[in-house]
Symmetry: C2
């Protein structure tokens, strides 16, 4: 009780290592070495490795969700219950993109950790992850209010595509840089956010009903 020092040192070290190298090849011994504590400390303070991961994930999860909802609520209240779809989408993908891209020294360990968690799906996290659905539903609600004429199906697809573009861009940022020979500047985070939001907005607002099906191609 006196000193949580060891406890939080472990949390910090674990988050950093997991964010950098993924859950797959980070061992307890790596963590305690990084944190400069004894091997047994993890089990003493957290019970098990899985519980450490779970605590890390839960903490970060509610923090991230709170941040996104704060942006969302602020926007909606400002508009009297209706926020423009672009602003909603920006609240959805902005925080994560900003935390994972941009100049190296500005990237947030938390955001990078959450991306890892969303990719690797290790057992202790998989068990908790269901709550994220409730969280996403709130965004779906806001999007529906912003686009009342749009069908639910389209809303969910738009939400899915927005997250898709954001997460994939983060995960494959290296490849995109290499592929484009540096022409795609992933350090210009606001440009990335604008592109993702723009395309997602188009996906959600384009052509009434099912102008979705483009000419003869989709009919094939």
């Amino acid at each position: 009780m006196a000193s949580d020092h060891t406890r939080s040192a472990i949390l910090a070290a674990a988050e950093r290592l997991y964010a950098d190298r993924g859950f797959g090849d980070v061992t307890l011994r790596d963590i305690v070495a990084e944190a400069n504590v004894n091997l047994a400390a993890v089990n003493y303070h957290f019970g098990s490795k899985d519980e450490l991961i779970a605590e890390l994930f839960v903490t970060r999860s509610i923090a991230t969700n709170r941040e996104r909802l704060r942006e969302l609520k602020a926007a909606e209240e400002q508009g009297g219950g209706h926020a423009p779809i672009e602003v909603i989408l920006r609240a959805l993908v902005g925080p994560t993109l900003r935390g994972c891209l941009g100049p190296e020294n500005q990237r947030s360990t938390a955001a990078r950790f959450m991306i890892r968690a969303s990719i690797e799906s290790v057992p202790p996290i998989r068990r908790i992850k269901n709550r994220e659905i409730d969280h996403l539903r709130k965004f779906a609600g806001a999007m529906r209010r912003a686009l009342p004429e749009r069908s639910d199906v389209d809303i969910y697809w738009g939400l899915n595509f927005a997250l898709a573009m954001a997460h994939h861009t983060i995960r494959e940022s290296e490849r995109l840089t290499k592929l484009s020979e540096g022409k795609c500047d992933l350090d210009d985070v606001e440009d990335v956010v604008a592109r993702v939001v723009s395309v997602a907005t188009m996906a959600l607002t384009a052509g009434r009903a099912e102008a979705k099906a483009p000419s003869r191609v989709a009919a094939r």
Copy 2:
């Protein structure tokens, strides 16, 4: 030489297990049990576990790429060197989506294995994966020919977003189904393909130059 039976039994079993459960928690003993062969057979026939994975990936990789390029080339030749952008995108994301979604019994182990490989990034695969960039460049080339007025940056972003939507939809298909309470039908593969292609096309063809930036929001 006489009987590759063991060899190919291992390959098939490994591919199936990796596709289903990922590289993380499939052990050599799982594989040999599934293949009904002796534990030592893997090292005898492939040298090591990593070489088994690598062979699996290389084989599937060139097969997939060939398939996509076949679709692409066919479309381009038919149009005399110029294929419509929708057709190009369809050749890019169609095979993978078709192989990973749809009725359970129609899904292809190969496609699902490749998705795993693109997600989990295990060492033996990471070493080879660079070739994929060359492959994507061919698609970028075709896209540039289809949209000559478009900047390279936009082309690469469009390519990135197309892959993003396809891969993310596959990876998170379960969550999307649950989130939408079944309203998004992931078994209707051709609808999924049409949606992805449609949005990617909009991303690539929308408003000249930077109509990209929607109203005041992007400027913020």
